[in-house]
Amino acid sequence: MTSYPDYEVKDLATRARARIEMDEKYARETLEAYETKRRLRIDEIIIEVIQNFYGKVVYELVDQVKKLLPKEWF
């Protein structure tokens, strides 16, 4: 078997395959990290939309209730 300085080719191949496995793990983790953040962001957006929507509803209700109260209060 050929060697390069102090290394057997099969050792080099083993080392390279370990690098490939590690790179594949990083790639999987990247997708997992992205998916986690994507879900988190969608949750945040839903919360913001609900807060915004009910905020408007609350102000509208306040205006309607005010009409039912004595005018001299305002």
Binding site: T36, R41, I42
Partner: protein
């Protein structure tokens, strides 16, 4: 009940609109670094785009802003922030602009040439930058910036040591042999010490990573909220190892957290460590940047170089 369902429907439609709008935005990427460190090439390799890699005029400190479309039609706004140090008067003006760009960016990279022996230039620039902002911005910048050691393929140890080129179909994967590996690790430690560990701002860093399973670890500097684990301050190697020994089932979480604080050694030419860098970029991403980032993710690894191209490089040993 109909009114309630209608309301839910309207909320869902609005949320859908908001998310779609976010996915259409341009991803802002800032790269700080001296001329010739390979900023454009790094961005091209990382996001699979085609920025012009003509070198910027040496000595220029002009901010370049370039917009480029990715393969899936998503846009990147690339801020090229050349190194400073031309003159003190001008530096202050440039630092103001750099600070704004870095704060506004979704991804902020500080690129350092692996073969550089002096760190004072970059380190001073970083310190000057941080000294001029308030504490919240210091936290934001220190936590956001990713330090990258570029062009590690150019490192040459005293002992002759080629890179391994491993053939996988029509492509090749590069890996180091021990002498280069050792040199890369030494460089990484040196730059990590200079930029992070010895920084007066090190305790402001907030590391973060995802954790899909239940994370029930009680440690003073660790927090967990909605599948994200946060670490306050500097997580060094010793503390990482202690956490791994104490909570083995979360070892990958602690490894990922630690990577937040590393200076990542990369080679765009050899596609070396780009997967690691991309994972760190994703981990550090603010949730509001997620939409525009999605278009640049690939399901495959980024470590492959066309074999016909890879064999033309010198100082390699081919393995099949």
């Amino acid at each position: 009940m109909d009114v309630f369902n209608d309301t839910l429907q309207r909320i869902a439609e609005e949320a859908k609109l908001r998310w779609n709008e976010e996915t259409r935005g341009s991803l802002k990427v800032s790269v700080m670094g001296q001329t010739g460190v390979g900023k454009s090439t790094l961005i091209n390799s990382l996001f699979d785009v085609d920025l012009n890699t003509d070198p910027v005029r040496p000595g220029t400190t002009k901010i370049e802003m370039r917009s480029v479309e990715g393969k899936q039609g998503h846009k990147i706004l690339f801020y090229d922030l050349p190194g400073i140090g031309e003159s003190q008067g001008k530096d202050e003006e440039y630092l103001k602009q750099y600070k704004q760009m870095l704060l506004e960016s979704d991804v902020a990279i500080w690129a350092i040439h692996a073969d550089s022996r002096s760190v004072s230039f970059d380190r001073d620039a970083l310190h000057k930058l941080l000294e001029t902002v308030d504490k919240n911005q210091q936290i934001q910048l220190m936590s956001k910036i990713i330090f990258v050691l570029t062009k590690v393929d150019l490192l040459t140890p005293v002992l002759s040591s080629p890179w391994i080129l491993y053939k996988v179909g029509d492509e090749g994967v590069f890996e180091t042999m021990d002498p280069v590996d050792l040199l890369i690790k030494q460089k990484e430690q040196y730059f990590q010490e200079s930029f992070i560990k010895s920084s007066p701002f090190k305790d402001l860093i907030k590391g973060q990573t995802y954790c899909s399973s239940r994370f029930n670890v009680r440690e003073p500097k660790l927090r967990y909220s909605r599948n994200i684990v946060y670490y306050d301050g500097l997580l060094d190697e010793g503390e990482r190892n202690r956490l791994i020994d104490s909570y083995r089932r979360h070892k990958d979480v602690f490894k990922r957290l630690y990577d937040n604080y590393r200076v990542i050694p990369c080679s765009s030419r050899y596609k070396y460590n780009l997967n690691l860098l991309m994972r760190v970029v994703t981990d550090k991403l603010a949730s509001k940047s997620t939409g525009k980032f999605g278009g640049f993710l690939t399901t495959s690894t980024m470590d492959r170089v066309p074999f016909s191209q890879a064999v033309r490089y010198v100082n390699i040993v081919r393995v099949e």
